[in-house]
């Protein structure tokens, strides 16, 4: 009875994993098919793989769009980590007036719908001539990344024993030195985790990107959305591009697998 239950449990877990894995496997498989094989009925599971779709992806605008995505995501992440770590440390170690209210307000930015800022940002950036420029999306993503970074990093700073900082003070460190030479180095894993989440969130964002970029600064998801509307649907290219775009995210996910809870819950759980 016990053995049966155990076997059933394992089988169930494997089945669940298969269900979640299948769509991903299917897109990877599709990316190696020719046009004919992609549209064949019944769908083919066994075929001679072709790299043509990947070559096509590399010869399209896709690399440029990925470059845009990376420029925007990395810049926004750097700004957010710098500002976020300062403020997170501040909330963790210093008492300021209305601290709880301010923290709450930052948390509430997690709830802010992107569509609410699309309209004003579109108008402002249009007036400033910043539409379709990297800086526009970099700034807007900071809104979401900073609020995220403050909450998650505060959790990491809270875990650093105060005694270490007090000892450093006794050694004559000034408060800024305590932050830069003691707290920040100790928070390095937290900084890395937070940065990875900021990067992923920025790479994945679509609504703001499609609203604020058109050509020069368009990100990879925006570019992919146009492949399917303007030139008919080249599923081979789309599959290959999707795989290339997801690959770094999958690697990042493996890197931060132990901090997923913290990252996905906005630092509210760990």
């Amino acid at each position: 009875m016990k053995v049966l239950k155990r076997v059933l449990g394992v089988a169930l877990a494997l089945f669940v994993a298969a269900v979640f894995l299948f769509p991903l496997l299917w897109v990877v498989l599709s990316s190696f098919k020719t046009k004919l094989e992609l549209l064949s009925v019944p769908p083919k599971f066994i075929f001679t793989p072709t790299f043509q779709n990947y070559l096509n992806a590399f010869n399209s605008d896709f690399p440029m769009q990925v470059r845009n995505s990376l420029i925007i995501a990395v810049s926004s992440t750097v700004i957010s980590i710098v500002l976020g770590s300062l403020t997170a440390y501040g909330f963790s170690r210093y008492q300021i007036k209305g601290s709880d209210f301010l923290q709450f307000w930052i948390l509430s930015l997690r709830m802010l719908p992107a569509i609410a800022v699309v309209v004003p940002f579109y108008l402002v950036f249009r007036a400033l001539g910043l539409l379709d420029r990297h800086i526009a999306l970099i700034l807007v993503y900071c809104l979401f990344n900073i609020s995220f970074a403050v909450w998650v990093l505060k959790g990491f700073f809270d875990e650093i024993p105060l005694e270490l900082e007090e000892a450093a003070m006794l050694d004559g460190y000034t408060p800024p030195q305590v932050f830069f030479k003691v707290a920040l180095p100790l928070a390095r894993p937290g900084l890395a985790t937070t940065a990875v989440f900021c990067l992923i969130q920025s790479l994945n964002e679509f609504l703001l990107a499609v609203s604020l970029t058109t050509r020069v600064a368009e990100t990879a998801p925006v570019g992919l959305s146009k492949v399917q509307t303007l030139m008919g649907v080249d599923w081979g290219l789309l599959s290959a591009a999707s795989v290339l775009f997801m690959l770094p995210v999958v690697i990042f996910t493996i890197l931060v697998r132990n901090e997923l809870v913290r990252g996905m819950s906005f630092g509210r759980m760990k």
Binding site: I115, P120, P175
Partner: protein, 314 residues
């Protein structure tokens, strides 16, 4: 360890670091907070107020803005398209989030078993929520295709009729929900697992010795540790589905016949395609208000003793 409250506790006296900072390092204290808050105010409050202003004008890009007061809102509230989008958004939220929470908890218990290889299985299950919702929508669209899609092929293989996904009003909605469930059930599972990890072992052992029924175990042992993570999951999922854009946008473009047009898609259309900036701003404010209400209700559930108001960026 789950933190039991969303509200951080009022801190005791200032830390030694702060005491030492004293008055000589006022600049440092300012550096900690002022740049961040300046930027956030500039990026959140200013745009929201600006958008509130815009929503009071009849303003199309390229023409002069005309003051209409609440005219845009009145137009909106008498527009069947708007009510349709509201209904669709709420439907998606209620159905998708219910399925995700129930399924997510069940999967949490499945994933909570211990055996070799569980780490990899968990990683696979957690992957979908890390992927770009847009890209996820893209490859699901490929799978939902009526002629060469793998899903209809599988359905017909097991003797079921092929389903007109994406082109039939009802099935298009089902498709959007399926994609959301596939991508976000893992999130509920993740938080469930985190909650299960905090259940003390001796409690479970005692329950086994007492031959407690499964329901009793769930109610009295697991639930107290699952309550906070699940309410948190409910909060995040509800809010994210209320703003849903990517999946329906790519799967169906909001169609057929607006049957999968969410409020975000409607707002986007008015803004980017019709240049009706005033209307778009009004729609976005409706989304902000709906989310505000939902957030407040759910946060009250999370912290029943400490009723705190959460604002949506204001």
């Amino acid at each position: 360890m789950a933190q039991e409250t969303v509200v951080s506790k009022i801190k005791g006296p200032a830390t030694a670091v702060e005491a030492a900072a004293g008055l000589r390092y006022v600049w440092w204290r300012r550096l900690l907070f002022i740049p961040t808050f300046s930027l956030l105010v500039l990026l959140a409050i200013v745009p929201l107020i600006f958008s509130l202003g815009v929503s009071l004008f009849n303003y199309s890009l390229g023409s002069k803005a005309i003051w209409v007061g609440l005219g845009n809102y009145i137009n909106l509230f008498t527009d069947p398209q708007f009510w349709m989008a509201t209904k669709v958004t709420v439907q998606f939220t209620v159905v998708a989030v219910s399925i995700e929470v129930i399924l997510g908890v069940l999967l949490g218990f499945v994933m909570n078993q211990r055996f070799t290889g569980m780490g990899i299985i968990r990683l696979i299950v957690f992957l979908p929520m890390m992927l770009a919702p847009f890209v996820v929508g893209l490859f699901w669209r490929f799978m939902f295709d009526q002629t060469f899609g793998i899903i209809d092929y599988m359905l017909t293989q097991i003797g079921l009729p092929a389903v007109p996904w994406l082109i039939h009003p009802f099935w298009a909605q089902v498709a959007v929900i399926i994609v959301d469930v596939w991508q976000w059930t893992p999130f509920v599972t993740l938080l469930t697992l985190a909650g299960l990890g905090t259940v003390p072992n001796d409690l479970l052992e005692a329950a086994t010795l007492d031959r407690a029924s499964n329901w009793m175990k769930f109610r009295h042992i697991y639930w107290p540790y699952l309550r906070f993570p699940l309410l948190l999951a409910l909060l995040f999922r509800s809010i994210d589905t209320l703003k849903m854009f990517d999946a329906p946008f790519i799967l169906t473009g909001g169609g057929p016949g607006n049957f999968s047009t969410t409020l975000s898609i409607l707002g986007y259309r008015h803004q980017i395609m019709f240049f009706n900036v005033g209307i778009a701003a009004a729609i976005s404010w409706v989304v902000v208000i709906i989310i505000n209400i939902v957030t407040n209700v759910l946060v009250r559930l999370i912290t029943p003793t400490q009723v705190e108001k959460v604002h949506t960026g204001l």
